[in-house]
C-alpha cells in the first residue's frame, strides 16, 4: 500500500519542479556558494508540489482511493522525505569531490562537511514540522503554511552560514577528518531531530486532517 501511495505521488501529484529542485543537491560543487540554499530548495520543492496538488485536486482523489483518510497524509510525508533524502544523497558525491578539486574551500559560507549535513537535517525538520502541520489543518492553505515554515528555516540557514565566520566556530567549517569527527554529534543530533520531528508532525497532521471537511 505504501509503495502504491508513493508511486501515485511521484506519477500524479509531484510537480516536475520537485525533480529539478531535488537534483540541486549538486550545488555543493559550486566553488563559492552558500550551500544552505540547497536545503531551502528542498523546502521550496514540496511547497510547489503542494500548490500543484491543490490545482489538480490531488487530495480529493487520494481520499477516494481505497485507503484510510490519514493515508493521504502518509503519502505526502513519504514524498517530502523521499525528495529531501534523495537531494542529500545526490549532493554527497559532489561534497567528496569538492574537497579534491576545490581544496581552497568555500569562502561564501559553511563547507559541505559533516556538520553541514547535520544542520541540513535540522533545517528540513524545522520546515517540515511547521509546513506539514499547518497545511493539514485545512489541506488547502499552502501559502500560509509555507510562509510560517520558511521564515524560521531561512533564519536557521543564515545562522549556519554566518556562524562559521566566527573564530570560535571555525571547527564547524573544516573538512579535516579529525574535525569532521568532532562534528559527528551534530549530524547524529540532526538525524534524530528529523526522525522525531517527522513522527510528531505526522501524528499532529493526521489528527488535523481527519477533522478537515473536504
Amino acid at each position: 500500500m505504501i509503495s502504491n501511495l508513493l508511486y501515485k505521488e511521484l506519477r500524479l501529484a509531484a510537480h516536475p519542479n520537485l525533480y529539478i529542485f531535488t537534483l540541486l543537491g549538486v550545488l555543493v560543487i559550486v566553488p563559492a556558494y552558500p550551500y544552505g540554499m540547497v536545503f531551502l530548495f528542498g523546502c521550496l520543492a514540496p511547497f510547489i508540489t503542494f500548490m500543484y496538488g491543490r490545482e489538480t485536486n490531488d487530495i480529493y482523489y487520494t481520499s477516494l482511493l481505497p485507503v484510510r483518510k490519514r493515508d493521504t497524509v502518509i503519502a505526502k510525508f513519504l514524498l517530502v522525505i523521499l525528495a529531501q533524502m534523495t537531494q542529500l544523497i545526490i549532493s554527497l558525491p559532489f561534497a567528496f569531490l569538492r574537497v579534491h578539486v576545490l581544496p581552497e574551500g568555500n569562502p561564501a559560507g559553511i563547507e559541505a562537511n559533516v556538520a553541514y549535513y547535520g544542520f541540513g537535517f535540522m533545517i528540513y525538520a524545522i520546515f517540515n514540522v511547521i509546513f506539514l502541520t499547518v497545511f493539514f489543518k485545512t489541506a488547502y492553505k499552502v501559502g500560509k503554511a509555507f510562509l510560517l515554515a520558511v521564515i524560521p528555516a531561512a533564519l536557521a540557514v543564515t545562522v549556519m552560514e554566518v556562524i562559521v565566520h566566527f573564530p570560535q566556530f571555525q571547527w564547524l567549517d573544516s573538512v579535516e577528518p579529525e574535525m569532521m569527527l568532532q562534528q559527528l554529534p551534530i549530524l547524529i543530533l540532526g538525524i534524530l531531530v528529523y526522525i522525531i520531528g517527522m513522527f510528531a508532525a505526522y501524528k499532529v497532521s493526521a489528527n488535523r486532517f481527519e477533522r478537515v471537511d473536504l
Binding site: M1, N4, Y7, K8, R11, L12, T56, N57, D58, Y60, Y61, S63, L64, L65, P66, V67, R68, K69, E210, R211, V212, D213, L214
Partner: protein, 248 residues
C-alpha cells in the same frame, strides 16, 4: 440486503446544518438524491464517505460500519464527484496506471473493454475530455475494479440532453443483473423519472422523504391545487415544495 444504510447523519456548519439524514439503498437499485442547489446533497455524500467529518450518525456499507472498514468498503465502491476534475494535464493512461494498483480486484481486460465501449482514448488528457466523457472515465475505473456500489454527485449536471439520456441508460444497464447499486444526486427531476427506483429528497439540510418512486410521488399529491386532476410530476412536486414568496 442493503448496500447502504445511513442513520441519523448530522453535520453542523456555522451557517448550515445537515440534520438527521436517514435512508437506505437495497441491492440492485438506483436511488436518486434530490434537492435544490445548497440543500445538502453533496454534503450528505461527502459525509457518507468520510470526506466531510459527520458530527453524528452511522454509515453501514455492505453491512459493515464504513468508518471501521474504510479501506475495505472503498475497494467495492466507485465515486464520481461532480464538478471536480482530477489531474487535468495528465493522460488517462497515467491516472489509470496509478489508480489500478490500489484495487485487489482490478480487471485489466474489463478496463480495456470499457475504454472501447465508451470510446475513451487512453492517450487523451483529462482536460481534453468533455464533461460526459469525464464521468464515463470515472465509471470505467469503477467498473474495472468490479465496484458493487456507485456513488455519483450530480453526474448529469452540465451534460447535453443526449449525453444525459445516454448516461441514465447506462445506469439502468449497470443495475440490470441486480449485483450493482447506484446512488446519485441530481437537481434535474427528469433524471429520476427516467432512471431512479427510489428517491430521497433533501430540503434545507433536512430529509423530506425517502421512498420508492411511485410511493414517493403518491405521498406528495396533497400539493395538488383545487381543480387539478392529473398526478403531480416530480418537477411540480419539487417546485411546489421549494417555491419562495418574495415580499417586495
Amino acid at each position: 440486503m442493503n448496500v447502504l444504510a445511513v442513520e441519523g447523519l448530522t453535520k453542523r456548519y456555522p451557517n448550515f446544518v445537515l440534520e438527521n439524514i436517514t435512508f437506505s439503498i437495497p441491492k440492485g437499485r438506483i436511488m436518486g438524491l434530490i434537492g435544490k442547489n445548497g440543500a445538502g446533497k453533496s454534503t450528505t455524500l461527502k459525509a457518507m464517505l468520510n470526506l466531510v467529518r459527520p458530527d453524528e450518525g452511522s454509515i453501514q456499507m455492505f453491512g459493515k460500519d464504513f468508518k471501521e472498514n474504510e479501506e475495505n468498503c472503498k475497494q467495492n465502491i466507485g465515486v464520481v464527484l461532480g464538478g471536480i476534475d482530477f489531474y487535468n494535464h495528465k493522460k488517462i493512461a497515467q491516472i489509470t496506471d496509478s489508480t489500478k494498483r490500489f484495487y485487489k480486484n482490478w480487471d485489466e481486460a474489463a478496463y480495456q473493454k470499457y475504454l472501447q465501449t465508451f470510446s475513451l482514448d487512453p492517450q487523451k488528457k483529462v482536460k481534453e475530455l468533455s464533461t460526459g466523457m469525464k464521468v464515463k472515465y470515472m465509471i470505467a475505473l469503477a467498473l474495472s475494479h468490479h465496484a458493487k456500489f456507485l456513488i455519483l454527485d450530480e453526474p448529469t449536471s452540465g451534460l447535453d440532453p443526449v449525453s444525459r439520456d445516454d448516461l441514465l441508460g447506462l445506469f439502468r444497464q449497470l443495475v440490470r443483473d441486480g449485483e450493482r447499486s447506484i446512488l446519485f444526486s441530481t437537481h434535474i427531476t427528469s433524471d429520476l423519472e427516467k432512471c431512479a427506483d427510489d428517491i430521497t429528497y433533501i430540503k434545507g439540510g433536512k430529509l423530506l422523504r425517502s421512498a420508492e418512486k411511485n410511493a414517493f410521488i403518491e405521498s406528495f399529491q396533497h400539493l395538488k391545487e383545487p381543480g387539478e386532476t392529473g398526478e403531480l410530476t416530480l418537477e411540480e412536486i419539487m417546485i411546489r415544495t421549494e417555491r419562495s414568496h418574495y415580499d417586495i
